[in-house]
């Protein structure tokens, strides 16, 4: 029999329901493999003992009607978990133990999931390589000294290395889709307002969304169904009719219109990415989709817009870290001195950089020139998509402009790091759903992903296209367990 840890979530659930594997057996397998995988640095907080205990309790009183019956799941350390340390990858929250649970994780536990541990991420989700984490970078299981992407880098690494059957991340500018692309896994950013932001450490509130990360599209649909819910505790949560994403999942995409935006052919894009995209277009045709050329004229303005809006919102959200109510406190001679020292010692370089940019663009005299201007351009970017969706049902693009890069390769040049998100950022600005699925490899055999972007609230179409193309692509990760002890 295949190892328990390499089963898909769907297979694992099936085995547990058929009583071929117990929740405790499954949990032991994931705990054991996680303990032998410390070199990846994927975990920030282990919940192994408690998870084993809860899995036994589940087996004593099993409820097989639940959607995640006794399934151990590790989550990104940006979700507040009641009584379990939550750091957001930052020194300033090093000892923070929340007294409440995020809605998204609560939805998982309500359906029988059990917390396995908290996964590494870029500090406050600001980064594209997991290198800004206070707790050190994460290794990509694909190859040694390769970044796993970011900010949900611990999540993508743990998932690709089979340390957790599925996981959840958050995506503000590509933080689910880019790491999924770098590790040969599937990651979905839902429509803004689908998954509650309650209890997620805030970065940029008008862009942040939680979403599922999984080994395949079917698993993605199962987890989305669990985490997507209307929540009164999030003022931007939207009360719309959610599909039963997993039971409505199908591969019939005959006649579906898929748009190819010409502006995504960016200068200097490697041939490998161009070829992957061309192949993707052929795969989509093979699956019965109709391909239509479209234009999203303001695409090249998306990144500059993002790097005003996101830091502005971040500087405001991160004002709460003042050393008074929770988190790190440095000693100072006066209250102001204490604030300044706490924030200087508590935040890392990238976070400080973004707070500074955000403070600057919101400061007196510059607000109109930067922040207001960016909000206007954001409107134009959204209108591009609105107009495209008069002609097509979904859009196909590469997920990233390159495959995973080496640790340290881009960490000294913020702008070159920001360019990683060139294909994912417009989707956050417009609030749309987008998925990355593995679609091929580069010359080093590193995975490359394709992104499918949908209409607002139309996750089902996005999933169905991905499900159909996944079968056609038939991608297999080639992971050698090189890190195992």
């Amino acid at each position: 029999m295949t190892e328990i840890t390499s089963l898909s979530l769907f297979e694992l659930i099936k085995n547990i329901k058929e009583k071929k594997i117990s929740s405790n057996e499954a949990t032991k397998s994931f705990v054991d493999r996680s303990q032998k995988s410390k070199k990846l640095n994927a975990y920030l907080t282990e919940n192994f003992e408690n998870c084993l205990k809860l899995s036994k309790e589940f087996d004593n009183k099993p409820n097989f009607d639940l959607k995640l019956p006794g399934i151990p799941i590790a989550v990104k350390d940006l979700f507040c978990t009641n009584e379990v340390r939550t750091t957001a990858g930052s020194n300033i929250l090093n000892n923070f133990v929340p007294s409440y649970e995020s809605t998204v994780t609560q939805n998982i536990w309500n359906e029988g999931g059990i917390l396995l541990g908290k996964l590494n991420c870029d500090e406050f989700a600001m980064g594209s390589s997991n290198e800004t984490s206070f707790f050190g970078n994460v290794q990509n299981p694909i190859a040694k000294d390769l970044v796993p992407g970011g900010s949900s880098g611990g999540s993508s690494a743990a998932l690709a290395a089979n340390l957790t059957p599925v996981t959840i991340g958050t995506d503000t500018g590509g933080s689910i889709r880019q790491p999924a692309s770098f590790t040969g896994t599937v990651g979905l950013k839902p429509t803004y307002g689908s998954c509650s932001r309650y209890g997620i450490v805030a970065f940029a509130s008008s862009l942040d969304q939680a979403g599922p990360m999984s080994k395949d599209v079917k698993d993605c649909s199962i987890l989305l169904e669990v985490i997507s819910s209307f929540d009164k505790k999030d003022s931007t949560s939207i009360d719309f009719k959610r599909n039963n994403y997993s039971s409505e999942l199908n591969r019939n995409i005959k006649g579906i219109k898929i748009g190819i935006p010409k502006e995504y052919r960016v200068d200097g894009m490697p041939d490998e990415i161009e070829n992957l995209w061309k192949k993707g277009i052929e795969y989509a045709k093979d699956c019965g989709a109709e391909i239509i050329d479209i234009s999203l004229p303001h695409t090249s303005y998306a990144l500059p817009t993002y790097y005003i809006v996101a830091p502005a919102e971040a500087s405001s959200n991160l004002a709460r870290y003042d050393g008074v109510k929770y988190g790190l406190r440095s000693s100072g001679e006066s209250l102001i001195d204490m604030y300044e020292k706490t924030r200087s010692e508590g935040f890392g370089e990238e976070v400080k950089r973004r707070i500074m940019i955000g403070t600057y663009v919101l400061s007196s005299g510059y607000y109109d020139a930067y922040y207001l201007k960016a909000q206007k351009v954001r409107q134009l970017i959204k209108q591009d998509f609105d107009q495209a969706y008069n002609k097509v049902d979904a859009i196909l693009t590469p997920s990233t402009p390159s495959s995973a890069f080496k640790i340290g390769e881009k960490s000294n040049d913020p702008v070159s790091m920001y360019l990683n998100d060139i294909f994912t950022v417009p989707v956050n600005l417009a609030g749309l759903p987008g998925i990355s699925i593995p679609a091929g490899t580069d010359k080093n055999n590193y995975p490359l992903g394709l992104q499918i972007i949908g209409k607002p609230f139309d996750e089902q179409t996005v999933l169905n296209i991905a499900y159909s193309m996944e079968e056609r692509i038939n991608y297999k990760n080639n992971i050698t367990d090189w890190w195992m002890e």
């Binding site: 000892n95 923070f96 133990v97 007294s99 803004y192 307002g193 008008s206 009164k232 003022s235 931007t236 939207i238 090249s300 303005y301 990144l303 500059p304 790097y307 005003i308 500087s315 004002a319 003042d322 050393g323 008074v324 109510k325 929770y326 988190g327 790190l328 406190r329 100072g332 001679e333 006066s334 209250l335 001195d337 604030y339 300044e340 924030r343 200087s344 935040f347 400080k352 950089r353 707070i355 500074m356 940019i357 403070t359 600057y360 400061s363 207001l372 201007k373 960016a374 909000q375 206007k376 351009v377 954001r378 409107q379 134009l380 959204k382 913020p414 702008v415 920001y418 417009a430 609030g431």
Partner: protein
């Protein structure tokens, strides 16, 4: 436009982040390269465009003015770096 050292120091005051001289210089360089990249937006005329503030086109909901959480004062105080029975303690503000 360039951001000089004086501006960086002013912004760091506003952001309540103390900054060493050396780091301030590096930060000025970084901010200048980022703003050079951001300036691209000035190519666009946006005179008659409505700013997009929220993607969720909903009006804020009302709720009943009722306490819904339990009394969790102790739990909340547990995370504070310095406390005194029922209060957060900070460096002396009033002489």
């Amino acid at each position: 436009m360039t951001i000089d050292l004086k501006t960086v120091k002013h912004i760091s005051k506003l952001a309540r982040i103390s900054l060493e001289e050396k780091k301030a210089e590096k930060l000025a360089d970084d901010m200048n390269s980022i703003f050079e990249f951001i300036e691209k937006l000035n190519e666009l005329s946006t005179e008659n465009v409505e700013p997009l503030t929220s993607i969720a086109e909903t009006t804020l909901r009302f709720r009943e003015d009722k306490i819904t959480s339990d009394n969790i004062r102790e739990k909340i105080l547990k995370n504070s770096p310095e406390k005194n029975d029922d209060f957060f303690v900070v460096p002396k503000v009033v002489e």
